[in-house]
């Protein structure tokens, strides 16, 4: 083990990052975070304009 301080350190950093990612609930999903969505969305969902335009399969709106 002593012969691999660099690899051991590198491996422990990778494992720590995995643990941190899972604890914090990180994900690879591409999302847009939006602030202050009006409460009227509940009454009129169709009026909400999605800020997400990153998916190639999006068919082009309503």
């Amino acid at each position: 083990m002593r012969q691999h301080p660099f690899y051991l350190t590198y491996g422990l950093i990778v494992l720590s990052l995995v643990g941190l990612a899972q604890y914090r609930g990180w994900s690879l999903l591409s999302v847009n975070e939006v602030k202050n969505v009006p409460r009227t969305v509940r009454d009129n969902p169709g009026a909400y304009r999605s800020h997400y335009r990153g998916f190639p399969g999006y068919f082009g709106g309503k």
């Binding site: 690899y7 494992l15 914090r24 994900s27 999302v31 975070e33 969505v37 969305v41 998916f55 309503k62």
Partner: protein, 433 residues
Amino acid sequence: MSETVPPATAAKVKGFNCPQCGAAVALRGFEHTLTVVCVQCLSVLDAKDPNYQVLQTFQERERIRPLIPLGSRGKLHGTVYEVIGFQERTIHVDGMPYSWHEYLLFNPFQGFRYLSQYHGHWNDINTVRSVPEPAPTGGKPGVRLLGETYRHFQSATAETTFVMGEFPWQVRVGDKAAVQDFIAPPRLLSAETTESETVWSLGEYLSGARVWDAFQLPESPPPATGVFANQPSPYPGRLRRTWVMCLILLGVLLNLAILISALAGKEEVFRQSYRHPRELGTEAAFVTSVFDLPGRPSSVELSIDTDLRNDSAYFSFALINEATGQAWDFGRQVTHSGGGKARDRALVPTVPPGRYYLRVEPELLSRSGFLNYELLLRRDVPAAAFYWIAALLLVVPPVFVGIGAVSFEKSRWQESDYGESSAASEDEEEDEE
């Protein structure tokens, strides 16, 4: 090797004056010396002749300065040796000359041994009395000596291109010998064949630092460049150790994954079935009822389970915090082509606790018919992708060490008769024939 060795002046040496130039010539090899080369005019003299007959002279000759001066003493294998002769030898490969230096070492009780030097790579060489047996290895010629198999590396004609000092044979500039090298790193077995005999010698790779230490030479040895024929590879042990460490780290990763999976809440917070379109002429977009996301900020997994048949649907989602108005917008496409059910999963990252609802806007590619689907939300679900990424990152170092090991051996054999350039030139020669 670092022990102090007696100075060269401690031993009595026989001497005479060069009949060619009058310079003092020392004889350190006693009765073993057959030829001596005047260090001043480089004339080759017969050491056995009472008048030191001149055997070879040169009008002009480029002088080569040995890295270990003649007369230097050094301790090798616990024995003090003195450098009494020096020669440069040259082979031609593809028309290119390659020269190396040989130092003849002498001890009155142990006899002779040699040090060779090529581009900073050194070999400690001794002649062997037994004749190796042929032992082909992997389709290549090979020989076997003292239980070890040596692979053929190179065959060439070596020409002596410079001499200085004493030699126990009749040395001349221009002497030629057919040389065959066989390797089993760190050892190198060489056969030198002349018209009269074949001499086998066994060399062991030495670093320049060890030679410098043995002869207590000033400054530093010239750095080694390239990979030498019998240079021991630093990779095999390192590669094995790195893979062992990699397996240990992968094992830790697997255990970490099991532990995280066991500790993760994966709590179901919302489940509802829907039909699209709900009613003709109504807005496709709708919002779900409000649900709680408990605990610390963590992931939310959305599962979409549909009854699509050879069709695609696109869902625009917004996970909205009822109190703060913060939203996470994302889209998912669900496609069915072939057997099984069309379903999808998405992991929304780091959502703080609170009361949320989901805005959903489904769209069918075919724009006709109905779509039945179920939405399921679960809290605190680990992302499997990170385990695969981590496994990949952990495997990268041993793969790089493996590439280094292959590259080292490729560089070694590139200089052999089996290197790409040598093989190409042999093919060209065959084509010409």
